[in-house]
Symmetry: C2
Subunit: 340 residues, 2 copies
Amino acid sequence: MNRQWRLIRRPLGIAQLTDFDLAETPIPVLQNGEALVRVEMLSMDPTNRLWLYEQPTYIPSQGLGEVVRGLGLGTVVDSKNDAIKKGTKVFGLLGWQDYKVLTPNDFWSPLVEIPGVPQSWHLGPIGMHGMTAYFGLLDIAKPQQGETILVSAAAGAVGSLVGQIGKIRGCRVVGIAGTPEKCDWIKNDLGFDDAINYREVTSLTDAIAKACPNGIDIYFDNVGGRILEAALERINLHARVVVCGMISCYNESSGDGYDLHPPRNLLRLLYQRARLEGFLVSDYFHRAEEAVMSMLNWYQEGKIQYKFDIVSGLENAPETMNKLFTGNHQGKLILQIANS
Amino acid sequence: MNRQWRLIRRPLGIAQLTDFDLAETPIPVLQNGEALVRVEMLSMDPTNRLWLYEQPTYIPSQGLGEVVRGLGLGTVVDSKNDAIKKGTKVFGLLGWQDYKVLTPNDFWSPLVEIPGVPQSWHLGPIGMHGMTAYFGLLDIAKPQQGETILVSAAAGAVGSLVGQIGKIRGCRVVGIAGTPEKCDWIKNDLGFDDAINYREVTSLTDAIAKACPNGIDIYFDNVGGRILEAALERINLHARVVVCGMISCYNESSGDGYDLHPPRNLLRLLYQRARLEGFLVSDYFHRAEEAVMSMLNWYQEGKIQYKFDIVSGLENAPETMNKLFTGNHQGKLILQIANS
């Protein structure tokens, strides 16, 4: 059987199990030109929640009744397309399901297996998350040696890489995270200069001022809202604020990503002649090799560490996605639904 | 006598007469190195209100008890400094007062009188406002022919120039203003392609969509808040939002410029890979000649029109400043306090 999670109702606020339906359908029979992929790992990312909105985001909206959109890894187990050979490992939009019928028009690419590097890294440092950190920091923010970088969701799939790349580039790096364990990890294992547990400080602005005595030159934002506001209070002249994500508002009850606690101090951008800039990794796919080779080299030089939080079972997909927003995960969250 | 408006209390919300004191003091006796300037015109700008905050903005805070900070034009009527000759016309931070004691360390520059160009234009198109429009649009937003520019406070001292420069550069230009008269003026006299009276539309977002059928490539923002939010709803891929001012929040009751109605859709910057960038004209003073010569040429070619709203009497300074925020002015607001 092919189990498929389908979206049957647009979530308002945190997604509920009743917003989805886990259907069991026969394993599809292939038509000419198609290949069958056994989905093995699903990447669980905050952006999954954006894709459930009725309004288009940066891609068209997911349709009601359709298989829930999701990135993942899998193996071609059957093929009626000479260009997609049986046994090929693939990465792409495979969906929350056991089997994906793949055509050349889908969003996917074959995976190059790299000796000594776990396959899961393709859903992390040498995949889209690595590219996101690499280009978001180096291309959008352009850090200079000695500058101060603040990053939110700093123990997360992207934030943890941003901080490590920032250290490689000779910057002071401060991370914001939500548990003592995450703060310990980024500071003691990843080499961040300082870490702030935003849940434990009485004033985040004061904590940032203390951890960034020379102010903030780059704020790499994964969170938005009032944490963005606190960071804006401390930006330096010509600071660059990279909008990589705004997870604090993805589950707002309005169901459209409208931030109900937006930063009230955008005037600081004027005072400091600073910019707030959004970016998407998909604009950098043509430069993927540059990022992936850099990440691989840094990994082999022992300069990049990464942590996965792997949950098992397709049946747990909705709850696993929700873990991203409560902060009850450690590192890059993956749903393993079959062995590779 | 030298009448001087002094700040005696920080305004909360709209400035009150009781926040100021109009003192009468003797005309100062000059020390060596000083010059005495008869202040003739004061430039009334939204930024005057920012300067009254307790917190520093882009310059240090104005002190309580001090003469209210203000830009203006005047004439040197006495001098004990060979470098500041009697009869020189000057522009600078002269303050809300009849006479300013000028030293070489103050912020000022001598004015070049240009035949055929009224002196007031130095407080407009060929002064800081012209430079603000010129560099904010051309240097920060870099418009390309055929792009759509939306500008708020479009009939104002800066906005009216932004739109005209945008037309010169071959863009579609749409302005947002607050009265039918302002909309008529920018559309029929200044050549804007369309004008939106934000006070008369039921949905500003819909009105923007209608006036900008190809979306917004550049939003030149003088207003902030919910008008910024409406504009963000319609930005195109790689749009540039120039933060020139955010007058909608300058009079918030918090007294610090915090926006109590900030845009809730900053996620649109991510979706559209767009940027929001603050700038200050003072960063461009070294390129003043480029802007001033361009504005003069365009004026002489009949491509730039400008309108002044001139109020008389130093005693009216606080109320005149407040006119900027009710929209009860037409064009660049100037307080004339003496004949030149």
